[in-house]
């Protein structure tokens, strides 16, 4: 049943390919939602499924994005190579943090990575001669060669690939050990599993995919500045699986729709945007602690029963 549910999620993820036929606003927003969904799945995998208290998603994403622009525009390296190289560099941050905070526990590790998320935009501002700081950097990127619509299709497909990858890996022995680590780290060590190696692997995978997501992001938006990677970006990314529901594979999909679309829906009341945004989050967390997905599932099941 769960397997069909997961395959169904991948199928649903591909539906927005149809928006490419029509283009316009819907296509633009969907692409944006999907780019954040990639990051949301990274948080789902690393924080919720592997139990690693990491909050530096905006940093790994930014390394992928800035790395792509700087290597391509300043050093003139080929675009695809720059995307892959900067994605490969992104996990270094997470891995270094993980290794250096190995003696610390839980919330201290979260705090260290969270501080990194606060510091990174300031570093980008301080290095504004290279990074453009708050004014940002413009980037024609891949869309110059293949067009915006084709790149939109690539973004949708890549998101489905990322989701499928995480779906696959959680079903493998590695995924099961990571789940075990997140549930009881000491017990996992006690049964003779080298948890350090698996955690390192989780940071490596998450960092690479987050960096790659960042590289896709900057190609899609054609612009990045320190404002795009402020600490709130990491919070929004973390909210995606949290609000959507981390226990279910399609949770991040609902979470991404919620986190990215709610601000769009609140545009008419822009002045009160943050009040509603904060209140909605508090209400969802307090009233639906397991997130949206399990409740949607329950609704769907009760609807099916009634039909029968």
């Amino acid at each position: 049943m769960k397997r069909y549910e997961n395959i169904g999620t991948i199928g649903i993820l591909l539906i927005p390919l149809l928006f490419a036929l029509r283009g316009g606003y819907l296509q633009e927003v969907t692409g944006y939602v999907y780019l954040f969904l990639i990051q949301g799945y990274v948080a789902w995998f690393l924080f919720f499924k592997s139990g690693q208290p990491f909050f530096g998603y905006s940093v790994t994403m930014a390394i992928g994005a800035y790395g792509t622009i700087v290597l391509n525009e300043i050093f003139g390296w080929p675009l695809l190579a720059t995307m892959l190289i900067s994605s490969a560099v992104a996990p270094v941050v997470g891995v270094i943090l993980f290794v250096s905070t190995i003696r610390a526990k839980g919330f201290y590790v979260s705090m260290t990575s969270f501080l990194l998320a606060i510091m990174f935009p300031q570093l980008i501002n301080a290095l504004q001669d290279f990074t453009g700081g708050r004014s940002g950097l413009y980037f024609s990127g891949i869309t110059e060669f293949i067009g915006y619509k084709t790149f939109y299709v690539i973004v949708i497909l890549m998101t489905a690939v990322v989701a499928s990858f995480f779906f696959w890996i959680m079903g493998t022995k590695t995924g099961k050990i990571l789940t075990l680590i997140s549930e009881n780290d000491k017990l996992t060590q006690a049964v003779g599993i080298n948890t350090f190696r698996y955690k390192l692997l989780a940071y490596g995978i998450a960092g690479f995919i987050s960096g790659f997501g960042g590289a896709l992001y900057v190609n899609y938006t054609g612009f990045i500045s320190s404002i795009d990677i402020e600490v709130f970006t990491t919070l929004y990314i973390f909210f995606i699986p949290l609000i959507g529901g981390s226990s279910v594979f399609f949770g991040p999909v609902l979470g991404a729709l919620f986190v990215i679309l709610i601000p769009e829906l609140l545009v008419p009341v822009e002045r009160y945007f943050r009040i509603f945004f904060g209140l909605i989050f508090i209400l969802v967390i307090v009233l639906l602690p397991a997130g949206l997905a399990p409740n949607v599932q329950r609704l769907f099941k009760s609807f099916q029963k009634k039909k029968m």
Binding site: P53, S100, T101, R103, A104, K105, G106, F107, Y108, S110, M111, T112, L115, L116, I118, M119, Q122, L123, N125, A126, Q128, V231, L235, F238, F239, L242, R271, Y272, F273, R274, I275, F276, F277, G278, L279, F281, I282, I285, V286
Partner: protein, 285 residues
Amino acid sequence: MLLNGLITGLIMGGILSLPVLGVAVIYGITGIPNFAIGVIGVFGGFITWYFISYSMGLAIAIGIVSCFIIGYVIQRVLLTPISERGGDSTLFFIITVSVGFVFEGMLRAIFPRPNISLELPRIGTISFAGFSVEGFKIIALLFAIITLIIIRLMEEHTEIGKSWQATSQNLKLAKLVGIKTTQVFSIASGIGCALACIGAIFWGSLYNLQLSSGWDLGFMGFIVAVVGGIGNIWGGLISALIMGMVMSFSGYLLGGEWQSVILYLIVIIVLIIAPKGILGSERSL
């Protein structure tokens, strides 16, 4: 330059120590990391600014009391019930950041100006060793240190202080001996937010307050508290003074844009080397 950097750093650290003290009081007693404290403090700063043309003393009192009430109500209605349901630090982090969003939104919706400066009376300058400093800044620093001593004395010698200690050391036992722990938590939260408000008022008077200042003040307060040993009041003060000087010297030597980068880098390194802070935490996160 050295003396200049030292004094500026001490003053910045002294003002910063007020929200740090707020974080330390709330976390030390309730065990809840409240990230909204800075935004609530700045909200109080804006309230003070709104009423300051009527009467300065009254305006400051309204701002501080408003923050106390906000802190009290949030703890009573939202945080304590979640804590009783077994909420962990991550959940509180998310909830309090969301509370911060609400108050930042209220600032944007209620107050017409995004940037304010509080006009508090200046009391001349004090000169020594060829260096002069505004008397008001010295008062801000002294106020921070005196507040800290009062809180510490309160904790040691008053009934409410003892109930704080009992609650933070053993919640179940404190409940058994009849301490109203819910009320203790709410008062601690109220005091923490009121301290953040005083910090914001000083900050707004010496520099300025923006809509987003609350996050800076709150995050900064929190990380300085973590470096000192979260929940440890003296550790918080020492850490605030050191961090103030780090900001001041890095600003002089490398320029304003590197100030925060150096500060955060040092904090990250301290957290890596000594995860429980300089003086160690009285509670473990």
